[in-house]
């Protein structure tokens, strides 16, 4: 009885920060705006969320959907036949961090795409690639955005690192945009925005006698 408002709200905040359910008591409604805001802030800390595989499976089972139709399997299908090797940094599926604060961990790096039985595929003349502009190419089964920097090139996967959607290059933003959730990446594959996603996978590319080649399959 007579719980002070700051204690009341801190009790709720403490639960939220521990990932617990919202448990509210009588009288908490007096601070409804603060509580709702606390929930939103707690959510923002985690960044955009996705269903856990277990929960998704549960839903699929309850609804009688086709179990194979999942984001992950579709994503897997997009990189079918490719061996994706962890690059410089490992880490979780969705390495997110805040930027701008200085003390936050950095986002996880992308992986290097290593196609099984990969081969270098010519994707065009270097002269056709405008400096600093990512251009979509296909090297067999591998889709990539190639960016020219002087006489060299770099390339990243054309598939978003978060959702299995094909990116597009928005020259007005100088960014690769994921149409599925409006996340953007630099031409080099780093995630933009407040919350970092894993960087785009790196696709191997090189210049040979004035021609751009991408390691495809």
């Amino acid at each position: 009885m007579g719980e002070r408002p700051e204690n009341r709200v801190d009790r709720i905040v403490g639960g939220l920060l521990r990932g617990r359910r919202l448990k509210l008591r009588g009288g908490d409604a007096e601070e409804k705006e603060a509580i709702v805001m606390a929930a939103r802030l707690a959510a923002a800390r985690q960044g955009p969320q996705r269903m856990s595989p277990a929960f998704r499976q549960r839903l699929v089972k309850q609804l009688g959907a086709s179990p194979q139709e999942t984001w992950m399997t579709r994503r897997a299908a997009l990189v079918a036949g490719l061996g994706v090797v962890a690059g410089a940094v490992g880490g979780g599926l969705l390495g997110r961090s805040l930027d701008g604060g200085g003390s936050q961990p950095s986002a996880t790096a992308g992986k290097v795409v290593q196609p099984t039985n990969g081969r270098w595929i010519d994707v065009g003349a270097l002269a056709d690639f405008a400096p600093g502009q990512a251009r979509m190419v296909r090297a067999g089964a591998v889709g990539a955005f190639v960016t020219r920097d002087g006489d060299s090139v770099s390339a990243v996967s054309s598939i978003c690192s978060d959702l299995p959607c094909e990116l597009w290059w928005d020259a007005s933003q100088d960014a690769l945009v994921c149409p599925c959730h409006n996340r953007t990446f630099t031409a080099q594959g780093s995630s933009n925005g407040m919350y970092k996603l894993r960087s785009l996978d790196v696709v191997q590319a090189r210049v040979r006698e004035g021609r751009v080649e991408v390691l495809g399959a």
Binding site: V13, L22, S103, Q104, M194
Partner: protein, 183 residues
């Protein structure tokens, strides 16, 4: 006391009118809906801030909305319908937990549908809200929520006391809730 009187079962406007949303031909209703539910989950999570509640509410949305979906119409209509259901379910959630009638909840308190419907919008919105606050309020919320500091750690960081930080946290949350953003 918490809410003894449960709010009426929330029904989205479309459902209330007996409307049936159709799905693209050739897709299994549940398969399409499951994919769309990823976004619904992210939306709900961004409003309730914890996984357990987000899962329960997403499940409620699925159970209410999916039986009403049918083959044939644009996916955007399906998404809109699911979001309408999600808003309704969220309204029920908050009114139950806070013991308030849904009419007492502000439209933008917890239920406003994000433009485009993505949780990303929520993250961006939080960032913009924090920008509107005074330095002290912004700092206490950033340390506590975004960096996960304990009250004691915040107090050390801000050269204050735990009691003062607790009060500041409450005032900062109230101030953040009052911020109105354009668009």
């Amino acid at each position: 006391m918490t809410s003894e009187a449960r709010p009426p079962d929330p029904v989205p406007e479309a459902a209330a009118e007996g409307q049936v949303v159709e799905l693209p031909a050739g897709s299994r209703v549940t398969d399409v809906a499951i994919d769309e539910l990823e976004m619904i989950y992210a939306f709900i999570y961004s409003r309730v801030g914890n996984r357990a509640d987000a899962e329960d509410l997403t499940q409620q949305v699925a159970m209410k909305a999916i039986p009403r979906l049918r083959q044939g119409a644009p996916a955007s209509a399906v998404r809109g319908y699911l979001f309408a259901t999600a808003r309704s379910v969220l309204g029920g959630f908050w009114s139950t937990r806070l013991g308030l009638s849904e009419s007492e909840l502000h439209e933008d308190l917890a239920m406003a549908m994000p433009q485009g419907g993505y949780s990303e919008e929520s993250v961006e919105r939080v960032r913009r809200i924090l920008e509107q606050l005074s330095d002290n309020y912004r700092r206490v919320l950033e340390l506590r929520f975004l960096h996960g500091y304990s009250l004691k750690e915040v107090a050390v960081e801000m050269r204050s006391t735990v009691g003062a930080v607790k009060v500041m946290q409450l005032r900062a949350l109230r101030a953040a809730a009052k911020v109105r953003l354009d668009g």
